[in-house]
């Protein structure tokens, strides 16, 4: 288990594409199947693959756990922030129409930001839970 070079080499080449695919799913939520939740899960799965092949310490160097908890909060904050912003701009809570000059663009940007918040939160919470499990002493 210590030096399985096949898994290490393959994972290094594969993980960038997994992460980019996650971001593709993230930003094409309103054109095809997908959205923030799935994207967050795929992104976290890519990092988990790195932790499985190169060990938890290497994965924690890429995604430091002390950054993950604030990121999870940031995602929720983004979600809430969009809601507050719509209220401040004179609409109802999460009424995206007021975010841009016309309703269609407003909807577009609003959903994009909301989904980004969901994705960030899901990915970081999943990684926090995963790291909590693997660093636990048996």
């Amino acid at each position: 288990m210590s030096h399985d070079i096949v898994l290490k080499v393959i994972a290094k080449l594969l993980i960038p594409f997994i992460l980019l695919f996650a971001l593709y799913v993230q930003f094409h939520g309103d054109f095809g199947p997908g959205g923030g939740f799935q994207a967050g899960v795929i992104f976290a799965a890519g990092i988990i693959l790195y932790a499985l092949t190169n060990g938890p310490d290497a994965a924690m160097r890429i995604m430091p756990p002390r950054l993950l908890t604030p990121l999870a909060a940031l995602g929720v904050l983004l979600y809430g922030g969009v809601g507050i912003a719509t209220v401040l701009l004179g609409g109802h809570f999460l009424n995206y129409d007021v975010l841009a000059h016309d309703a269609v663009h407003g909807q577009h940007y609003g959903i994009l930001l909301i989904e980004l918040g969901v994705g960030v939160t899901v990915a970081s919470v999943m990684l926090v839970i995963f790291f909590a499990f693997i660093t636990q002493e048996p």
């Binding site: 290094k12 960038p16 930003f27 890429i62």
Partner: protein
């Protein structure tokens, strides 16, 4: 830096082909940002103390190798399928053994091990610095592999056809 630029270019191409929205400025911008971000993470995945073994020459020699590999895959598939349907005339004779690995970089060792596994009938079990443990479905498949043609092809990928090194064990001159 070369790795970063190459990775970025490939990732952005990947995004364009996945997305299909080539006239939407917002999505193009997001794609650019995503590719930069992921290429940055991707370069950090490469640990500095470890050689990565990539070179442009290798990339150019790759297509020829892939064609050779696909032909090998088709041949060995046919062999295994015949042994599934006709067990009386073509019985399986499982073999377990070790074969030398002549590649130096871990990337090329990985390519060799994966090529062994990708051709049905032979599976690479454990890869060490000098040899690879192989399980083969038939004695013939093992003998083919021991003949060293695949080893030579991968080594050629590594160093180029011009100055091919001889295999360290004097094998592969079949």
């Amino acid at each position: 830096m070369l790795y970063f630029s190459l990775l970025f270019a490939v990732l952005f191409g990947f995004w364009l082909l996945l997305s299909g929205f080539w006239d939407n400025g917002l999505l193009l911008g997001l794609g650019l940002a995503s590719s930069l971000f992921v290429a940055w993470i991707g370069t950090r995945l490469q640990s500095p103390e470890q050689e990565n073994g990539y070179s442009l020459g290798m990339l150019l020699r790759l297509p020829r190798y892939l064609v050779w590999l696909v032909v090998a895959i088709v041949k060995s598939n046919i062999d295994v399928v015949r042994r599934v349907w006709d067990p009386l005339n073509q019985p399986i004779t499982p073999v377990m053994g070790r074969l030398p690995v002549s590649q130096r970089t871990s990337l090329c060792k990985t390519i060799y091990a994966n090529s062994i596994t990708l051709t049905p009938g032979t599976v690479a079990i454990e890869v060490s610095d000098t040899d690879v443990q192989v399980h083969a479905l038939t004695r013939d498949a093992f003998a083919d592999l021991a003949g060293g043609e695949m080893d030579r092809e991968v080594s050629r990928l590594e160093v180029g056809a011009g100055h091919r090194r001889s295999s360290p064990n004097g094998k592969g001159q079949a």
